[in-house]
């Protein structure tokens, strides 16, 4: 096949979503954020919502999400993204409103905002990146850090007698009357990426159809924080994260 044939539109098999701009990402090589950003961009484009979407970015590694996806954004205070999103959606009901939060932001400092926005049934989607560590601040213990897992603030491993237990926010969310769709996904393989994209699409559609609130957890790697190569981090996630944070839909109010 010649170059001229390859670049014919009918032979196109993959392209970067138009909403993703060319700004160099600050994420570490191997990090899951880039893949999830791309899936969100693809879903927004496929839904034709490029000019009707407001994202709310967190405090954490994804604080600069607004630098990479060409939609309107509000950058929230640490943990408060669901409150920020609540107001945007209530005041602009025909907009697609989502938050993008990490485990520290969502499951620790923002636990109250997360639970109450979900339980009010706000027609928003919360994308929850769970990599079991505080990435941005340099790898401290998160509410989701596994028992025994070593971080900068539990260097001898998470000890439940000192640090308590990891929090399963997605399981909590599934018990709330206000939630429509609660799911746990990952993006470590091509099949997983496809499933995660379907989940984001369903959550975003629910948000627009008034079905209630939606939580999509993405069990993710932080190879820098975990001090592993990207490949080893994916393996470690499968072996250690998935048994405690099993993948799949926890609630789907059809």
């Amino acid at each position: 096949m010649t170059k001229e044939e390859i670049i014919k539109p009918e032979n196109l098999v993959y392209k970067k979503p138009t909403l993703m701009n060319d700004n160099p990402m600050h994420y570490c090589p191997g990090c899951s954020h880039g893949v999830v950003h791309k899936l969100i961009a693809e879903v927004i484009e496929e839904m034709g919502m490029e000019n009707q979407t407001v994202g709310v970015s967190p405090v954490g590694c994804a604080v600069f999400a607004y630098n990479y996806l060409d939609i309107d954004w509000e950058e929230a205070a640490h943990g408060r993204a669901p409150a920020v999103a609540t107001a945007i959606k209530r005041l602009w009901p025909n907009r697609l409103v989502f938050t993008y939060q990490g485990d520290g932001d969502l499951a620790c400092i923002g636990t109250a905002e997360t639970i109450h926005a979900l339980n009010r049934g706000e027609n928003i989607t919360i994308i929850f990146i769970n990599n079991a560590i505080y990435g941005m601040t340099g790898g401290q213990m998160a509410p989701t850090t596994l028992v025994g897992m070593k971080t900068a603030t539990c260097p001898y491993g998470r000890d439940v007698t000192i640090h308590g237990y990891p929090l399963k926010m997605t399981e909590i969310a599934a018990t709330l009357e206000g939630t429509a769709y609660v799911t746990r996904q990952s993006v470590h393989s091509v099949p997983a990426i496809r499933k995660a994209k379907k989940a984001i699409r369903k959550a975003f559609e629910n948000s627009m159809n008034g079905k209630g609130s939606n939580l999509v957890e993405i069990v993710s790697t932080c190879n820098s924080g975990w001090k592993m190569t990207p490949v080893a981090a994916n393996q470690w996630m499968e072996e250690h994260m998935f048994p405690f944070y099993p993948l799949g839909d926890l609630k789907d109010k059809e």
Binding site: N51, Y66, D70, E75, A76, A77, A83, A87, L91
Partner: protein
Amino acid sequence: MAEEVLLMKGNEAIAHAAIRFGTDGYFGYPITPQSEVLETLAELKPWETTGMVVVQAESEVAAINMVYGGAGSGKMVMTSSSSPGVSLKQEGISYLAGAELPCLIVNVMRGGPGLGTIQPSQADYFQTVKGGGHGDYHLIALAPASVQEMADFVGLAFDLAFKYRNPAIILADGVIGQMMEKVVLPEQRQRLTDEEVIARCPWAAHGKQEGRKPNIITSLELDPSIMEKRNIHLQEKYAEIEANEVRYEEINCEDAEYLIVAFGSCARIAQKAMELARAEGIKVGLLRPITIWPFPSKAIAERAKQVKGILTVELNAGQMVEDVQLAVKCSIPVAHYGRLGGIVPAPDEVINALKEKLIK
């Protein structure tokens, strides 16, 4: 048609005025002595009439961040609380100031520190005008002294907030929030349409329109050279507000030999004290700051040329008195009289303080 004169609490007047002014959203959390704001809104159900959104949030923290979200989308939004709740809001207020978002915050002050008391106080003056949250910022701060001003300042605060893209605060005290007075409410206005909001706030994040670049609402900038410029821009804006928006009221100042400076409920007490003092032959004038930031420093400095001394009357241990001292640059004696912990002084106490601290 004659104006309809109603009798209501200051807190109720805030709620009525918010609906009448076309506010898009209110986000609050119950706390004494301001809970009537949220209660009145819930009773009036403006979502069925003007389309105003009313949300009882899970905390004051969530409420102020809902204000951030709504204000960042260009809508006219507000919250109200009382001192401990307003302390919780300070992080959000700093973010609102940093992202330059117009909004209205109402603080119906109660006594502190800590859980303190539910009785009236003016001890949040420092918090309101000297920062409160982190970083170099100012709020446009209005201090109502009547139920009528509670109603009138809702619209004024929103107008100033949108004029300067800056959060505005109504700093009331428990007396003004709880007392009932006559009030004439503003005419009912239509809320702005989405198109009008988009036209008024081309910077807002509400889903980018065709052909527009994304709007990003943030207070974050890691490049110090850009962050310094942002701060300088804020300081220039604050200087403009200080030049244009100082508001105050002067009563009997023309021939005054002594001046009382007081805001909010204390100005009402001081006015009575002034009348009683004048009946005794002491020529007292009253200067009431209406904006406590920007502060009427020039007006006070001007009166300092004429009077022998200034007494501030405050429901605190001496806060605004520092701004008065700065204004007059120690050219004349400046004293403070205050009651603490929820006690409201009587007019004769104020006269006695004036005599003891300045005349004797």
